[in-house]
Every structure is written in C-alpha cells, then in structure tokens.
C-alpha cells in the first residue's frame, strides 16, 4: 500500500530576474496516514513553499507529488481547488476566519464549496464545534471569541470537510504560550483519534511535540526521524 503523501524528487524553482531560486530542491519524502509530522526550519528554508505544495496551493516545477497514490503535480487550478476542498484542512497562524460570519458559518464554508446541502452543512458544523469544545459559541462572530477559541473554530472548519490531512501553519504563532499549549494538546488528541497532521513551524520546541520531525534547510531535507531522537 502506498503512502498518503509521497514526494519524489520534488523541486520548486522561482525565476527572479536572471537568477533561479531553488526554494525546494529535489526533496524525497513520504508521510503515512495517521502520522503527526512537524516540518521545521528557519524562515527562507523552503518550508512554506513545501507546505503550499503539500496543501495543493502551488504546483512543483519538477518531480512528482502523489497524494493517496494519485499524482497531483500537474493538476489545473480548478482540480487543485477540488483536491484542497476534499483532502486538506487548513489551520493558519492568523486563523483567517471571515470576520462578519458566525463561528458556525465559518465552519460551513468548505462544505459550501463541496456542494453539501444547507441542512446537512449546518448540522455538521455544529457537531464540529462541539468536538472542539465550542458547541455553545456557534452563533458568535470571531470578534466575540478569544484567540484560542478562534483557532479552535478554525480547526473545526479544517475538520468539517472530513479531509485526509490537517495542514497547520504556525498554529500557535498568534497565541500566548498557555493557549498555545492548549492548542498543541488538542492537536495531540486529534492525532490520537486518527487524524493525520502536518504542522509547519520555525519553533524547535514546538516541532519536538510531534511524533516525527522533518527539518528543512536551503530547500533540502536536513534531518528526518522520530521526534525523541531529534537533536535540535
């Protein structure tokens, strides 16, 4: 059986005037279902580019990206949008909730684009909010929620489409350390219940809380292994 994510000699180059920037250079990486992986590296290391490609927001210049055995490296924009909608749940550093919509409506958003009926959407959104412990906040707009609560709404939104994978980009970056710990604990619980997680961060301590660490430097994998064996 093939891996959930398989990157084969994957590269992403940008042309910046006369010079070619190799943001990602010939990376081979595979991630299995149910893993909790952190991708770590300083800014400019290429980890954001890697996350964009894994998240189907960007396509590689070279190499292949197999998601559930299917090559998604040459998909059209619309096909990428469908893949994101179906397979990936995003959690952003700055939450990215729509400010004028309630928590429930924010959670419904990916399901709108999946073509799910309003009734079912509503019901599932409420279930998701209950799962992240915000069942009583579903009618509140983001402004009326604390940072931790907002991030949990965002996690509920990421879970709502029942994706194969949650992709979190610096999920605790905008939170105080206590709330950050709570969110990390919540991620652990999610992972224990079988959700696959990839977290991108520049924070080594945070990265060490995952099961597996992939360290990126200059567009290449510098280290890849179990978190407890990782020497920061």
């Amino acid at each position: 059986m093939s891996s959930m994510i398989e990157l084969l000699k994957l590269s992403r180059h940008y042309q910046m005037g006369p010079t070619t920037v190799k943001a990602i250079d010939l990376i081979d990486l595979s991630i299995e279902e149910g893993e909790f992986v952190s991708i770590v590296g300083p800014s400019g290391s290429g980890k954001s580019t890697l996350m964009n490609i894994i998240g189907c927001l960007d396509s590689p210049s070279d190499g292949a990206y197999l998601l559930d055995g299917k090559d998604v490296s040459n998909l059209s924009k619309n096909e990428l949008a469908e893949t994101r909608n179906r397979s990936i749940g995003f959690v952003f550093q700055s939450f990215n909730l729509l400010p004028r919509q309630s928590a429930r409506e924010n959670v419904e958003l990916p399901m709108i684009y999946a073509g799910i009926s309003p009734k079912e959407r509503r019901q599932r959104a409420v279930e998701m909010l209950e799962r992240v412990g915000l069942g009583d906040r579903s009618d509140h707009v983001p402004n009326e929620l604390s940072g931790g609560q907002r991030q949990r709404v965002a996690i509920a939104r990421a879970l709502a489409g029942q994706p194969r994978l949650i992709l979190a980009d610096e999920p605790t970056g905008a939170l105080d350390s206590k709330t950050g710990v709570e969110i990390m604990e919540f991620f652990r619980q999610l992972n224990d219940s079988g959700v696959s997680l990839i977290m991108v961060t520049h924070d080594n301590e945070l990265a060490a809380q995952a099961n597996r660490v992939v360290q990126i430097k200059d567009g290449k994998v510098l280290w890849d292994g179990k978190a407890e064996e990782w020497v920061q």
Binding site: K77, A81, E82, N96, G115
Partner: protein, 406 residues
C-alpha cells in the same frame, strides 16, 4: 465536478451587501439616478410627442388644405396667405365638393383689418369662410353661434369673434352678441365668440361670411385656400392626387411644376412632427443613458475597492476549495444585485418624477412601459458589465498571494 449553485452565490452576496449597507446604497445611487433620469426624460419626450399630436389633431380631423400659390414646400401648420395672389375659384371649390372622398369643403381668405368698437381700436385677422368651417377645423363658437348658409348666401355682415378679440374689445362679462363692430369701416353685427384655442393667431381672428369678405374687405373673387375634410385618413393621399389632377385641368396647367396651388395634408404633417419628436425623445434618452454609464463606472470603482479589501477573504475561500468561477459568481452576483436594487428604486423615482412634472410642472409626461423594461434591463447589464471586470480580477487571484495579503 461539484460547483456551488446560484442560490449559494445569492446568499453570500446578500450577506456581503447587508454587512455594508451605506456603501451599497451609495454604489446603487449612481444607477438609481441614471435609471430615474432615463425614465423621466423619455416620459417627457413621449409627453411632448403626445401633446403635439393632440394639437395637430385639433386642427381638424382628416384635414387637407388646398393653398393658392406656387408650391414651395416647407410650410407646415399655417401659411401666411395675405401677400399671395389668391388663385382658387368658386368653380374649383364646387369641383372639390363634388369628389366622393370629400365630406365637405369650405373656402378661406384672410386679411388684417382695423377693428373698432365704441372708442376702442385694435387690429385683427378677418377670416372669410363658410358655415362648414367650425366642423372642418374643429373650432367652434363657445357663445352665440356661427353664421349659417343663409347668412352666407345673403352676404350678411355678421361676425364671430375670437376669444382675444372679445377680451380686447368688450372685456369679461359683457355680452357682445348684437353689438356692432367696424371692420375697416364696415359695420358687422357680432353673433358669437369662438372658443379659446391658445394660439394667438386663432384667438385674434374674426370670422365673417366669405361673401361679405369678398364684397367689403378684399374685393377679390378668388379664395386664398380651401379647407377639405376627407372621408378617411387612409385615402387622404389618393384624394390629394385627385384634387391635384382636377385643379390642373381646371387651371389649364400642364404639370404640378407650373401649378398655382399646392396641397398640404395632415398625414404628412403628422409624420413630420412625429419624426421630430422621436428624435427629441431619443436625444433626451441618450443624455440620460450617459448618467447610467457613469453609475456603472461607480459600481466598477467600488467593486474594485471591495475586491482589494477582501483579498484575504478571497484567499481563504480559495484555500478552502472555492474555484475561480465560484469567486467570479459571488462578486458578479453582488454587482448585479446592487445595480438591480438601484434600478428598481430608480424606476420608482423616475415614475414619481414624471408624475410630479405633470402634476406640478405643467409638463406632459407619459411613462412608457418600454422605457421601464429598458431601464431595468440596462441596470442588470450595467451590473454585469461593470461588475464583470472586478469579479474577474478577484477570480484570478493567486490563493498564496491572497492569503499573505495584509
């Protein structure tokens, strides 16, 4: 291939409009004013058309006029006949009366005369004509009566005076019937007052039997013109040809180029005037349409700002699975709804303005259903056209860039 349906786009757009009502209102204002202007100005144009047609109709129904003089063209409602040698004879008149397509015909000659009553002095147009005149020209006495065939035959010196002449000589409330007035020194007995027509020429006229006119005023046997009432509007052109042919024969003339008479009919008059007023309406409508275009540019402007402001929202929606066309649909729907709302309010304002122009401005304004549909359609197209570009820009955003946008 899943795609979100129109209902979802509609809900999203309504939500976004509701969350910024003042801006939506200001955006719609341009379209509102544009649509209102189109409807009101086209209504005024139509009103002018209707009132001109009505005043033409009031000249008499199925009217055809045979004038003395060489055909020169260009003359429309009333031609100044006083300095043209009259050429139409009694024989001509009898011939015209004998044509089956003619209901009746009556001669007419005019001259400017001095009018005297007691010590008051004024000038007026003396019109010598026949008893058929009121019916043919749709112009009757409001008080007293017109002269009769018997009075015509016996060359009675009786006069029916125009409304202005009555005011000038007698003043309101005085009964003029039976009073004697002097036209160029000849005594005429007033037997009636004509209704007020509103144009100074008609209201400053004095109607006397053509026989008395010929004897005492002009001394000529010929008529300046003959008023003819045709049996029907459709056969008017045929009647014109018949009269032309017969008159050429009677006057022993070879062709119309040499004619000492010419004909004008109401049909030609109507179509000329109609052409003019249609141009007028079109002109007014086009001016108003410009403001609709300006309104559309307003929509485009605001939508572009809105797309920029909501770049991040667009990025989030795209990351969560929105396709370019979903974003396109959302923004276009928003633009169309705004311009549609503007259009609906504009229709109301336009109709109200037309009503007010009629009610308080004394102008004739006729709102046409066509212009309402046109304006409505235009406002939808405005939204589609001017909202299209900003929506397209939104749909082409790169989700990575859009998510990074501050």
């Amino acid at each position: 291939m899943k795609r979100i349906n129109a209902r979802e786009s509609l809900v999203m757009s309504l939500r976004s409009i509701a969350s910024n009502k003042v801006r939506a209102f200001l955006t719609a204002l341009g379209v509102m004013i544009g649509v209102a202007a189109v409807i009101a100005l086209v209504a005024l144009g139509n009103g002018a058309q209707v009132s001109v047609q009505e005043s033409l109709q009031s000249l008499g129904s199925n009217l055809l006029i045979v004038y003395s003089g060489a055909p020169k063209g260009g003359s429309l409602v009333r031609r100044n006949t006083s300095n043209i040698e009259p050429t139409l004879t009694e024989e001509d008149l009898e011939m015209i009366r004998s044509i089956p397509l003619v209901i009746q015909a009556t001669p007419e000659s005019t001259a400017t005369v001095q009018v005297k009553y007691s010590n008051l002095n004024t000038t007026a147009t003396a019109i010598g004509t026949g008893p058929e005149y009121p019916e043919i020209r749709n112009f009757s006495p409001i008080y007293g009566s017109f002269f009769t065939q018997a009075e015509l035959d016996t060359r009675k010196t009786v006069a029916v005076i125009g409304a202005q002449v009555y005011k000038d000589l007698f003043g309101e409330g005085v009964d003029p019937v039976g009073q004697k007035i002097r036209l160029d020194g000849i005594n005429f007995t007033v037997i009636g007052i004509m209704e007020e027509k509103g144009d100074s020429t008609s209201d400053s006229s004095i109607f006397i039997p053509i026989t008395a006119y010929q004897r005492y005023i002009s001394g000529e046997k010929e008529y300046a013109l003959v008023n003819v009432q045709a049996a029907e509007l459709d056969s008017m052109r045929d009647l014109q040809y018949v009269i032309e042919d017969e008159l050429l024969a009677l006057h022993r003339l070879p062709s119309l180029d040499m004619a000492d008479f010419y004909l004008a009919n109401q049909l030609d008059l109507l179509s000329t005037v109609q052409g003019v007023t249609e141009t007028f309406t079109l002109l007014l409508g086009s001016i108003a349409a410009i403001s609709l275009v300006v309104g559309g540019i307003g929509i485009m402007n605001i939508m572009l700002v809105s797309v920029t402001e909501r770049t991040r929202e667009i990025g989030v929606r795209m990351a969560l699975g929105a396709k370019g066309r979903d974003i396109l649909g959302q923004f276009i729907t928003e633009a169309i709804i705004i311009s549609l709302l503007g259009g609906l309010v504009g229709i109301g304002l336009g109709v109200a303005a037309s009503w007010a122009a009629t009610r308080f401005g004394g102008m004739a304004a006729v709102v046409s259903v066509d212009s309402i549909f046109l304006a409505f359609g235009f406002s939808v197209i405005t939204g589609l056209f001017f909202g299209g570009y900003p929506a397209y820009r939104a749909s082409r955003l790169d989700p990575i860039e859009a998510l990074r946008y501050e």
